[in-house]
């Protein structure tokens, strides 16, 4: 089967500073793919590359087998194909929550005002923010902003959802709810999910496959299900990363 997202020998850098070298991996349709690693190793940077926010040479990143460079300028790539939840939610602060969710709908669909309103209400209630339509981002907590960001990310029912540290800054109940929601989206809509995270609980709860970005060797040092990573790896960094709080013998 054609992988949904495919990365081939990608090098990442900022000007002269090398972040990662030689990354290659495939994300399959319908899986919850995790990008894990210590903070500062380049997870958010990798996400930037995957989203087409940093220029990348040809034949490095593919969506459904097509080069990202030929995709990003097509209408429908952003929004319909991919949706993103940023680390802090990244809601547009000059708009209410409803307007945030409605903006992509107004721009890309031919729905009328009433339908848009209904869909906005639906998406907000999916993330547990029913009744917050007319709040501005500054009037709600960080966790709620994040959930509203998710409502916006799924506004156009994308095929692939990207998350940058979804559970960072959430209390454990909200984090669990978010995990459940991600699972639900995957099960019912068949959405492919790519998550950058270092939250252990959700790594083991929802991840189908993971890659570990190693900050020292600056490349991927392990790939597999989270349990495989923990059990079969003999890299001390990975074991330390995945076994915090549990005793391993």
């Amino acid at each position: 089967m054609m992988p949904k997202v495919s990365v081939k020998n990608l090098n990442m850098d900022y000007d002269n500073y090398v972040v990662m070298r030689n990354l290659s991996f495939d994300v399959q349709q319908g899986e919850i793919f995790l990008i894990i690693g210590q903070s500062g190793c380049g997870k958010s940077t990798l996400l930037k590359y995957l989203l087409g926010l940093k220029p990348v040479s040809h034949k490095k990143i593919f969506y459904d087998g097509k080069d990202i460079n030929s995709m990003i300028n097509l209408p429908g790539f952003y929004g319909e194909k991919i949706g993103v939840l940023y680390q802090g939610g990244a809601l547009w602060s000059s708009m209410t929550l409803a307007e945030n969710v409605a903006l992509p709908l107004e721009t890309y669909t031919s729905l009328n005002g009433k339908e848009i309103e209904e869909i906005v209400a639906l998406k907000l209630s999916l993330v547990g923010l029913k009744g917050f339509e007319n709040f501005y981002p500054s009037q709600i907590s960080g966790g709620m902003q994040k959930r509203a960001g998710l409502a916006r990310a799924i506004a156009l029912d994308p095929e692939i959802l990207f998350f940058d540290e979804p559970s960072a800054g959430l209390d454990s109940v909200s984090a669990k709810r978010l995990d459940d929601l991600i699972l639900e989206l995957k099960e019912s809509f068949g959405i492919t999910v790519v998550i950058v995270t270092h939250d252990l609980a959700s790594i083991f709860a929802i991840g189908t496959r993971a890659i570990y970005l190693d900050i020292e060797s600056k490349t991927i040092t392990a790939m597999g299900t989270p349990h495989e990573l923990l059990m079969s790896s003999n890299d001390k960094n990975i074991i330390a990363f995945l076994s915090r709080g549990t005793k391993i013998t």
Partner: protein, 375 residues
């Protein structure tokens, strides 16, 4: 009792450092340099022993002392025995050695020579001018598409923007322009009254306000007020990933963020400039009427005689350009903001300084152009 370290020579080849007392960063304690120097000055020494006698308490001061000693011994290939070091201290020292070191630093630390500096500044100016021209090009394309109806601007936001850069700026423009008119008239009256030529105050104030002061003063006010606000808003949006979010929602950053701001300010600046010119003339009138024997009617007819349509036109053309560039510079600087709060402040400052400089330079260029055109 403060921290004490004593250097003793065991025999020709061994140096012993005995450490005692209370080591604290808040109190006097020995510095590693002196010890290192003494040890290195005796080439016969092969080994350094650390002894801890009666060490009462310690903090980073001692850790730092020991690390310095250890490092310099290691680099000079002297044997040093750390078995005597108390366990807590040893663990901290080991910890400081194991954390990974980022070898490339984000900015080079070396101080550049004067030539390097001049060269760098030159290149920086060249490349920023180049990127800015690219940005202006994209904006102009956006404006063309907007005029032809291919790019839409959200009307509600645009109306708010117009209000913000136009109507809300009226009070401050009023105040500054009135005072500028007042001052020009006052200075003129002082000089002209010596020749009994008071009536020409009206000419001076009218022409100065219409041609120069009206657009320059509004330009400077709008740089500090609106240009700065654009840069700060967009810079903050960059920091919060809001700009990335716009892009990954499929919006063009130029069309969505910059275009409405640029169009709004380009439209509003001429209006503000006209307003400013008239208020300036009003200020002049107040001075003239109160300080000389001119009547209001005389002053007004004289102004009308002195100021021709050309002057009016010159002011308007200039202010259109000023408006465009103030907004463009504000937006572009905002979009260059890196991901930190500190950068937002820096960005805003740069935007204001750049646009005020640009205004003055453009005004000089326009002066030449208009005089060549005989206007």
């Amino acid at each position: 009792m403060t921290g004490i370290a004593e250097l003793k020579l065991g025999n020709e080849t061994i140096a012993i450092i005995s450490i005692s007392g209370t080591w604290s960063i808040y109190e006097k304690h020995p510095h590693a340099e002196e010890f290192i120097e003494t040890i290195l000055s005796k080439p016969s020494i092969q080994r350094v022993d650390l002894k801890f006698v009666d060490l009462k308490s310690w903090d980073s001061a001692l850790i730092n002392f020991l690390i310095r000693i250890l490092d310099s011994c290691k680099s000079k290939n002297l044997t040093i025995d750390i078995d005597n070091v108390p366990t807590g201290i040893r663990r901290l020292i080991e910890l400081s050695k194991t954390s990974p070191v980022r070898t490339t630093s984000p900015v080079s630390q070396r101080k550049p020579t004067i030539f390097e500096f001049v060269g760098r500044v030159g290149l920086l100016v060249f490349f920023s001018l180049k990127t800015f021209l690219g940005f202006v090009g994209k904006l102009l394309t956006g404006i063309v598409f907007f005029v032809r109806g291919k790019v839409k601007i959200r009307s509600r936001e645009f109306a708010l923007m117009l209000q913000d850069v136009g109507v809300k700026a009226l009070p401050i423009v009023f105040l500054i322009s009135f005072l500028v008119g007042l001052i020009i008239a006052f200075v003129s009256v002082l000089q002209l009254s010596q020749f009994g030529a008071n009536i020409y105050v009206a000419d001076l104030v009218g022409i100065a306000m219409m041609r120069e002061m009206g657009c320059i003063m509004t330009g400077i006010i709008m740089s500090g007020r609106t240009g700065a606000a654009f840069a700060a808003t967009i810079g903050t949006m960059m920091v919060n990933d809001e700009v990335d979010a716009l892009q990954t929602a499929g919006f063009s950053i130029i069309n969505f963020l910059a275009l409405p701001r640029v169009i709004a300010l380009t439209l509003m600046m001429p209006l503000l400039c006209i307003f400013s010119s008239f208020i300036g003339i009003l200020g002049g009138l107040c001075t003239a009427v109160s300080a000389t024997d001119l009547t209001i009617v005389r002053y007004c007819t004289q102004t009308a005689k002195a100021v021709c349509l050309n002057d009016f036109f010159v002011g308007i053309v200039k202010s259109c350009f000023f408006g465009f560039f103030i907004a463009a510079i504000g937006c572009q600087k905002g979009l260059q903001c890196r991901h930190s709060a500190e950068d937002v402040g820096l960005t805003t400052t740069t935007a204001v300084v750049t646009s005020i400089t640009a205004i003055i330079i453009m005004d000089a260029i326009f002066a030449v152009i208009f005089s060549l055109l005989g206007m």
